[in-house]
Symmetry: D2
């Protein structure tokens, strides 16, 4: 853990949805100082012109590492594959990094290669701490490179962790629903309003890249399963719901399930347990993951529903949650 009075933070790739929100959260943060925001495509534009409601009055700049690495920390909001190289250079210059891409999430380079192609800087993988705050709090405190989790793995792993630890996951299907901001700011046939409005569509069927990340983290918790994971695009902006259908590995009942989740999350400031299934509106613009667990005695399944805001706890506010730990700040500072 590092003690710096007012750590300066640059956000690289700040013109996308995730980067822009990270910039806003740092801008409003009582301790951090937003030193710079960069963007290749929108350099020269003001961030509050692109995102008026964020009210960040800085101008987006082209990345110039000689200047932009003069900071205490950087949040890197680059696409997968494009991120690793710049992260590597930042780390070499002793900048602490939270990387929002997938480049350092998968600990096994072979798995990375299978899903994403060659890794640009495989040697750096071991140095990264996986940034699911609730599970890696201690390691994050001393980290200089954090691989911020994918939005789906954040919700899915938090939803399933108590079952994984208790050896209860025999088999699991995760059906996810996500708002369109998760698809990024690029204007495509798929993000056109008319394509999304009054529609629900599955995508990435049997091949979404968040799947190995979920498997990795469930395995780390003791559940060696091959997850079935299918996300669906729904007509809303921010929000993500994972509906988890678990075939239990052994007998259980509602009281045991409740106890497992209470024990796991009683002290967690950003995990809420609910009696009724959560909706994504319940957590909009918050760093919360709201979870309910149910025992379907008829079909013999455990059902878990987890709701997050894909841009907040699913990405950018969790990045700040991690920055707080990395710099010894109260974990919820600036995001509560």
């Amino acid at each position: 853990m590092l003690s710096v009075p007012s750590p300066s933070v640059a956000v690289l790739g700040a013109s996308g949805f995730a980067g822009a929100l990270a910039a806003q959260l740092v801008w409003r943060h009582p301790t951090f100082e937003l030193a710079a925001v960069t963007s290749r495509s929108d350099a020269g534009r003001r961030l509050d012109d692109l995102y008026p409601r964020h009210r960040v009055p800085l101008t987006l700049e082209e990345l110039d590492l000689d200047r932009h690495a003069e900071v205490d920390a950087a949040v890197v909001a680059y696409p997968h594959g494009a991120s690793a190289q710049v992260v590597s250079e930042l780390v070499a210059r002793e900048v602490r990094v939270v990387d929002l891409s997938a480049d350092f999430r998968l600990r096994d380079p072979d798995v990375y290669e299978h899903w994403y192609g060659d890794h640009p800087v495989p040697d750096l993988i071991d140095r990264a701490v996986y940034g699911l705050t609730e599970l890696y709090r201690d390691e994050l405190a001393g980290a200089d490179l954090v691989a911020n989790p994918g939005c789906f793995p954040t919700a899915a792993v938090l939803s399933l962790a108590p079952l994984a630890r208790a050896g209860l996951i025999g088999d699991v299907v995760i059906d996810a629903k996500t708002g369109v901001s998760g698809a990024g700011r690029a204007a495509t046939e798929k993000t056109h309003f008319v394509a999304v409005d009054e529609n629900v569509v599955p995508y990435g069927v049997a091949g979404h890249r968040h799947t190995p990340e979920i498997d990795q983290e469930l395995a780390a918790l003791g559940a060696a399963v091959t997850t079935t994971f299918v996300p669906h695009l729904v007509p809303l902006d921010q929000g993500e719901l994972v509906s988890c259908y678990v075939t239990p590995a052994r007998e259980t009942d509602e009281p045991e399930l409740r106890a497992l989740y209470d024990d796991a999350y009683a002290g967690e400031p950003f995990v809420e347990l609910a009696d009724r299934p959560p909706g994504v509106r319940d957590v909009r613009d918050t760093n919360l993951c709201r979870i309910s667990v149910h025992h379907d005695t008829r079909a013999g399944k455990i059902l878990v529903f987890g709701a997050t805001d894909n841009l907040w706890k699913g990405t950018s506010s969790q990045a700040v949650q991690n920055l707080n730990l990395m710099f010894g700040r109260p974990e919820g500072e600036g995001i509560s």
Copy 2:
């Protein structure tokens, strides 16, 4: 099958979403004649005042069986429980009935009682034909009482029938997403725009009443399974997607799966097979069920996605499809 030159049809309960659409489809039908529309709550109002775009210029009347049973057929769009009694009286007066409620869908009175309470006219249950047209076409031709399926069972059973027949369903999870029209016209805390907008919420968790109906029909096709079924409310008007996750009872592969679906649905005018997962927008305002099947070799699951319009194929256009069969009309007349 009955031959009547221009069968007259009354729609009872025509002020709700399903009844109003049934009335419109009958009104526009080239052969049927819309004889009357009834409503308890909105008697005296014109249907084209309530639903301008349907353009049905009839006035809603209080039900008066002496007058309203003077028709060849009736579509009954009453709530569950309230329907059975009036259906019984109509059948007694030799009116052919398509009942949109659940009252005659479950063949086992004990199952009905478990999910809905006492059945008002249990003796009539055996007389009803289950109106999933593609599966009961022959029986429907001679039927005088048709239990129109629930919207979820329509999509789910069509999506799973080829697997059920082939003995492939070891276990199945059905995660459904539905538009708000499925919740009916009643203004409640749950149907308020602000509750639905920018939200996705599971409901009826481990206890939705369409579950036994799905189980019944899968069993009739040879698959004795206990389905896990959870619907989710999504912010759109009409449309329903079922995402089915099947653990196969035996080995299979993509070619076998494709062949099973091609065989089952090659000649079906209202079932479409798609290579990519369907979206609900693909079938909006149509009598179609659009289905894709996928083999997830990694997790060893069969994935089936089925999209329908909950008010059309899920309810009212399927009712007309059945009426067509009952009166010897071309199956797609008035709904293509």
Copy 3:
């Protein structure tokens, strides 16, 4: 008027929203035969792959005038400026044309030039009939080139025509609200779901190209006014509402206003008068324009609200309405 037993129709530019709907309406039309659909960007794709719910099983082709001009009529759904040249070639080959672009709407070439730039074939302008069916019915019957109106002028001119004829328009402000399909199928920063969702934005302020078209038609009806016109993008797919605020040129009252509208539209099959202000949902997927007129005695204004579906009466179903007239078919055939 021409009598052809089963006129063949090509739709050029059928991959956009308006062209695709025109193709579907022709495909389902009981008399017309859809001979071909063309598209530059999507040639080779099936139309029912792009628009599954339209169910038009034709393949989009590159335009080849030698083949595609072998039809009785063509609907041209090209962008402004790009349309005039191909229209000219079709007319030269004696193909009857309904042009959905603005290229032949403005009768004064100088006005065209001011708003759109040089006109490619100015000599053809005089030959075109303005396709606002309710106002130009007689001329349309004999037309071989129809300039289909813009969506906003359709709603605005129908809403204001009775006042214009009666000399009542002293000054008029038109505030329009439109769904996103009006912006076309191109994926841009403005049509991205996240830009539109939970938003309302004015655009084309004090300079939208439909303004001179509205002025031209109001002048033709006797009202020489300079309209103030501002459209707003609202988060929906299809639909358009014009809210017209008229400062009367002379005294009037509610009974006179009602009488003017009743007289103008009593016999019109596709104009509906309503007591309450119409919503765009009232006319979705119809060829209707639904209008209400009100006298605001407090502020001394006449208020007129007109709702249409921008893709239907605002564009493609009106094109078919015009085709019907051009070929001596019942005006509402295939679009009622």
Copy 4:
């Protein structure tokens, strides 16, 4: 102005949208203490059960003035007519009040009576300060009863004030678009999701109760006009746009208009001037009013567009802005 170290605030009627947001803003406020939340209909429920994302862990109570008047201030979120009586009792007990209803907004009792009926406590009207912060800042600092403005008047008067002061408003039409939260939490035919979705509807035509409030405030600024005001319901949750069409009383030009707005709002923390027309998304969840002004030289009109969040600056965050002034706190505390 009163100096109290940590003023305690009760929110009466906290189960509605406006009251709940006011409660959240007070709860999170660094200086104020949320002492109690009351509700008739939902007494006994937790506020974070009704509005999970607000995270206010208090239980709603039945109003008991003996207990609930033991506070320094109250925000009263009661319906019009129902508010005046309780406000009167609070003021009598020396509780400072911000009233969100219309009961004390209209300074002329006859005008109130015309639009709302008899006033329950007419003697108190003179004591109220109109809470449009930017216009009444000085009076608000010493106020003990604040009539918080309506959401439409807030946006409309801020948008038009510079023109009113400059004697530029000859005539004005205000076309407003609002999200559904403005209609309140009551579940009605009009707030049902299916009624709003894919719809735009005018309402309160030539008779909305915010009209006299706009007229009153424009008159106070020197513009004695009779406003034409029509709001429209659009399918979104929070947000409000006023499009103002001004016929100038004298000649003007773009530079004069820009200067007027710059002069009026240069130092205002919560009024933003924009070159392009604002969208409501630009100000979502903020206390901002974002305004653009344009000179339509063609039609000779001045166009002004003003966007606010109807629940924030339009209601509850403006209430807190006023509370801040009343208690000598920095104006933006807790709402920036």
